[in-house]
């Protein structure tokens, strides 16, 4: 059974179609990355999942319960961290963390003090005086203080320094080890690349690609660079091969190009008798995948 199951989800705000048929399914125990540019619909999807916004069409379920009607029941088992944490100015960070834990009707506070220490957080300051990163810590500490079945994280690390970002990654790893499920929306692609088992890319309210990072790479291009002992003219036909793009030769004789993965066999056959001395093929980074999706569509 999927933990999150979204199908043909649509959300309109007046004339704006914010979500235009989103399909997404997150399995138990996986860390799921959710990426896309600003305004693509990530936060809207998450707000629908949290029962804050009512879907115009389609269904969204968590733990096989309807996200709108059974919101309160679902929320007993989830933890949420927004990208922009707004706190109550007259409460201290410690008070907010305790309040959030109590609202989740939990009496185990085992991780609270440990997390405050790991995140190097001062809980005695009034919330109004915290910086962006420190406000983010309040929500993160509250979220990880109590074990949840599902973590919904909407750009949770915005404003965190790289050291704290590492602590966050450890927290995710620990949650995963406990068997929890994580939906992580983020702009920090290295974070997603490192943490996530599967990824969905959203654009203009539609999911345009989903799957494992490896799976996505198969559908795209690898970057190939090679050197040959043969005269440059022998490679003349390379540019004409289907699936070869951006062919370049630099001053040192290094040839580089992008190759559609589907054409790998044909390209290698062409290169087989060209006295190749050295060949490197690198899969695209998530960043490159992301760019491909956004520039080419």
């Amino acid at each position: 059974m999927s933990v999150i199951e979204i199908s043909s989800l649509k959300k309109r705000f007046g004339k704006v179609q914010a979500l235009d048929g989103v399909d997404l399914s997150v399995e138990a125990g996986e860390v799921y990355g959710f990426i896309g540019p600003n305004g693509a619909g990530k936060s809207t999807t998450i707000r629908v999942l949290l029962g804050l916004l009512k879907a115009s069409e389609g269904t969204a379920r968590i733990f096989d319960k309807d996200v709108w009607h059974d919101a309160v029941a679902i929320h007993r088992d989830i933890a949420y961290v927004p990208g922009d944490v707004n706190l109550w100015n007259n409460l201290s960070g410690g008070e907010v963390i305790d309040l959030f834990c109590r609202l989740r009707k939990s009496h185990e506070h085992s991780y609270r003090d440990e997390l405050i220490e790991r995140f190097e957080f001062d809980p005695t300051k009034k919330s109004g005086t915290y910086s962006k990163g420190n406000r983010q810590k309040v929500a993160l500490i509250a979220a990880f203080s109590v074990a949840a079945r599902l973590y919904i994280l909407d750009e949770p690390t915005s404003g965190l320094d790289p050291l704290m970002e590492q602590i966050f990654r450890q927290c995710i790893a620990e949650a995963k080890a406990r068997g929890a499920t994580v939906l992580l929306s983020s702009h920090i692609l290295s974070e997603v690349e490192q943490l996530c088992d599967r990824i969905s890319i959203i654009r203009s309210g539609k999911i345009i690609d989903s799957g494992t990072l490896d799976g996505m790479r198969h559908l795209t291009r690898n970057h190939v660079s090679l050197q040959t002992d043969a005269p440059p003219a022998t490679l003349a036909g390379l540019a004409e091969l289907p699936g070869v793009h951006h062919l370049k030769t630099d001053a040192a004789g290094m040839v580089s190009f992008d190759m559609d993965n589907a054409e790998t066999a044909a390209v290698l056959a062409f290169l087989a008798d060209k006295s190749i001395r050295h060949l490197v093929s690198t899969p695209p980074s998530l960043e490159e995948l992301f760019m491909t999706h956004y520039v080419s569509h």
Binding site: L52, Y80, N86, R102, L103
Partner: protein, 535 residues
């Protein structure tokens, strides 16, 4: 003057940002200042009823409430100025305080001034720009008011008097702009600065109430900008030097705020930030306790306001009795077989009515908080926990109703305590509490209305405030003068009978509370069904 560099650009920026807000305030205040002029002659009526009104306006309770009557012949103009000026000046004060804090401390708290500060713009340019805009707005309001007043062609309400009336109001308003500029240097939070500014406005009202009620304390009325404004004697003496005094006060306070502003860091205040607790107390454990924690300060502050204002009103009862004993006309009015209470009862009823409306302010404000929490994106985090929307909504409504009850208790207790201490024998406690309680259903009705708006029409929540101002004007004027009955009866306060002169109408009171709860419940139903958004 490099610290003021860029002021002109910022003025244009402020005007652009407030292109709706400022005109609405200007139109609102001009209307508030003049709307009653054309209605006055009809309401005053013939000579006999005018004489009765004159006596009413000159009694100590009225003087305490609205300030003294000026001039030996009590003309319509003199009556208009006495009847309206102090209340309308409160409106000017609120506008000036809100505007200045919105453009100074609020912008600073939200981090907008930081971005402006990074531009080639002087440190104090924003403060100067805000004060210049509000000064210009005050002058514009005064000119519009002065130009409108003679157009109604009411006897003795002429241009000269209108000009004095208009500038008295605007100068008083500007003095509060200066006070607000100072407040926004003191606290680090806009909410705190606003509270402080409005509290000082309340103090100004109280100072002049004490000064006007007792000739030995008249200095207090001069210290209060509201008292100084009424001493322009519009339509009678038409004095201008109180206007100059008030503008000068505004400039002095502004000057002080520049001095403080130059000396401090951005984001800092003169009051230090206290540290908080590392752990939440056992009392902070759910959505209701969080709501209470958020509203606690407001509720306590307003309890003090209600108690102090009621006590001030109560303290006039002693003088009221002396006034009746020495006044032939009143004695004639009481007549054979009558008693003094025939005159004091309506006064108690009127004073408690006004206090009930003041008590309504924190009630609406409690429910508005539900909306502002939503707009600031805080509810999003709360509702992502196992928190039901209806439960959250009910929490704010229950706190608002409890606030209403607490305020009314403070009103009754403050009034009774002060009245008893100035009278030779203690005031009838039961009467004061019953009069106060008779208005409770109306206060609860406002809680219901605000809850309905917060739930169903969140963008229109300020309609609750508009309706409260309307109720105040309709009932305040309607109780004193002849006004078509429906004008006051369209409001919860006017709908209820004037106890103890009329019998208390239980079915009506129960129906009013019932309808209030019902519309609040309707609000809750829509609230459960709608999107939670920052819009």
């Amino acid at each position: 003057m490099s610290s003021l560099l860029g002021t002109l650009g910022l003025i244009r920026f402020i005007l652009r940002r407030d292109r709706l807000y400022l005109p609405l305030w200007i139109i609102g205040l001009v209307t508030l200042s003049v709307f009653f002029v054309p209605m006055l002659p009809d309401m005053v009526g013939d000579e006999a009823s005018k004489q009765a009104l004159v006596e009413t306006m000159k009694n100590p309770a009225m003087t305490m409430m609205v300030g003294p009557a000026f001039g030996s012949s009590y003309t319509l103009g003199a009556m208009y100025a006495q009847f309206m000026l102090v209340w309308v000046a409160l409106g000017y004060g609120i506008m000036n305080v809100m505007f200045v804090i919105r453009h100074t401390r609020k912008d600073e708290e939200e981090g907008r001034l930081e971005m402006i500060g990074a531009l080639p713009i002087g440190r104090n340019a924003n403060l100067l720009a805000s004060l210049l805009v509000i000064l210009a707005a005050n002058v514009l309001i005064a000119l519009l008011t002065a130009a409108t007043i003679p157009a109604f062609g009411v006897e003795t309400i002429d241009f000269t008097g209108g000009l004095s009336y208009a500038f008295a109001l605007s100068a008083c308003g500007f003095s509060f702009a200066g006070i607000a500029a100072l407040c926004s240097q003191i606290t680090t939070r806009a909410r705190g600065a606003l509270g402080l500014g409005l509290a000082l406005l309340g103090c100004a009202y109280l100072l002049r109430a004490m000064g006007d009620a007792d000739a030995n304390l008249e200095l207090l009325s001069w210290i209060s900008p509201l008292g100084a404004a009424s001493r322009c004697e519009p339509f009678v003496g038409n004095l201008y030097w109180p206007v100059l005094l008030l503008f000068a006060e505004g400039l002095v306070f502004s000057g002080l705020s520049f001095a403080f502003s130059s000396a401090r860091d951005i984001g800092a205040g003169l009051l230090p930030q206290r540290r908080g607790r590392a752990h939440a107390s056992v009392l902070l454990r759910g959505e209701w306790s969080l709501a209470w924690r958020e509203l606690r300060g407001t509720v306590i502050a307003w309890l003090v306001v209600c108690f102090v204002f009621s006590a001030a009103y109560g303290s006039v009862m002693g003088e009221m009795n002396a006034f009746i004993e020495n006044n032939e006309m009143y004695q004639a009015l009481v007549g054979v077989g009558g008693s003094t209470s025939d005159i004091t009862n309506p006064v108690i009823s009127m004073l408690m009515l006004i206090m009930s409306m003041i008590a309504t302010i924190p009630v609406i404000s409690a429910i508005s908080r539900l909306r502002s929490e939503e707009r600031r994106g805080r509810l999003e985090q709360l509702l992502a926990k196992p928190v039901s929307r209806s439960y959250l909504f009910a929490g704010y409504f229950v706190i608002a109703v409890a606030t209403a009850v607490l305020m009314m208790l403070a009103n009754a207790f403050g009034f009774w305590l002060a009245a008893s201490s100035t009278l030779s024998e203690p005031m009838d406690m039961g009467l004061v509490f019953k009069v106060t309680a008779s208005y409770l259903p109306a206060v609860i009705a406002f809680a219901g209305l605000a809850a309905f708006l917060a739930g169903a029409l969140p963008r229109l929540i300020s309609l609750a405030w508009v309706f409260l101002v309307y109720s105040f004007l309709a009932v305040y004027i309607g109780r004193t003068m002849d006004l078509p009955q429906w004008v006051a009866r369209a409001t919860p306060f006017g709908l209820l009978p004037s106890y103890p002169m009329d019998a208390f109408d239980w079915p009506l009171a129960i129906a009013l509370v019932g309808v209030s709860v019902a519309i609040a419940a309707l609000g809750a139903i829509v609230y459960r069904q709608r999107d939670m958004s920052a819009l």
